[in-house]
């Protein structure tokens, strides 16, 4: 299951959904809002998604991973909205009989989600500037799109 959530994520609750008597391994990935990115001090961030396509693309990623690797369950939930430092931005959980497939699948899911799912991140820096990650154009254009507040 892939879904977007406007509410804070609860890892314990999400992990419960993965329980399976055949599972010997559960690997989870949590992406947290950290206080620095590429040398800038981060204060907060916003995630925005094109929900119908994000959910469809997310489900496709999970289906691809399940087709490639012997996993039992695979789930990914991504936050949207305004997040503070330390908040959980994305949670991925995978169960499998054996740990190799669980590690590989978990990593493949987060890599693909970051590369393909239409979700965007705007960072707010302590300097007062902001930036849409991966959308910066060269030189002053980036500043035009995100004036100091």
């Amino acid at each position: 299951m892939f879904r977007l959530s406007a509410q804070p994520l609860d890892p314990a609750q999400l992990a419960h959904l993965l329980h399976d008597p055949r599972a010997g391994a559960c690997v989870t990935f949590e992406g947290w809002v950290r206080n620095r990115n590429e040398g800038q001090a981060v204060q907060a961030l916003d995630y925005e998604a094109y929900a119908p396509l994000a959910e469809r693309e997310g489900e496709r990623i999970l289906a691809e991973v399940r087709a490639k690797l012997p996993v039992l369950e695979a789930t990914c939930v991504h936050r949207v909205g305004s997040l503070a430092l330390g908040d959980l931005a994305v949670w991925v959980g995978v169960t499998a009989e054996h740990r190799g497939a669980a590690f590989d699948a978990c990593r493949m899911i987060i890599d693909e989600v970051k590369a393909r799912v239409p979700i965007w991140k705007k960072e707010h820096y302590t300097s007062g500037t902001t930036a849409w990650i991966n959308c910066a154009t060269r030189g002053p254009a980036a500043d035009l799109s995100s004036p100091p507040k």
């Binding site: 925005e48 998604a49 396509l53 989600v113």
Partner: protein
């Protein structure tokens, strides 16, 4: 002349100052349509940095536009 529904996200939403609009256009393809919008609104992102979705599904830039299509231009993603 076709009427196209456009939704804007992230940097395009901020640069347009709108989340969505209906536009009448003579553009033949999704690529032509983005070129038209980019010229009008000074979008900073070149099309090679975007993908396009037509009717909630990724589509080639060469997709011909049809009356009532719903388009979204997808800036570089940054989930996670």
């Amino acid at each position: 002349m076709k009427t196209i529904h456009v939704q804007y996200f992230a940097i395009l939403r901020e640069q347009r100052g709108l989340t969505q609009e209906k536009i009448a256009t003579t553009a033949a393809t999704a690529a032509d349509f983005y070129a038209e919008l980019r010229a009008r609104h000074n979008f900073t992102l070149a099309p090679e940095h975007l993908r396009v979705a037509v009717n909630e599904e990724f589509a080639p830039w060469t997709t011909p536009l049809r009356e009532g299509d719903s388009l979204v231009f997808i800036p570089p993603v940054a989930g996670g």
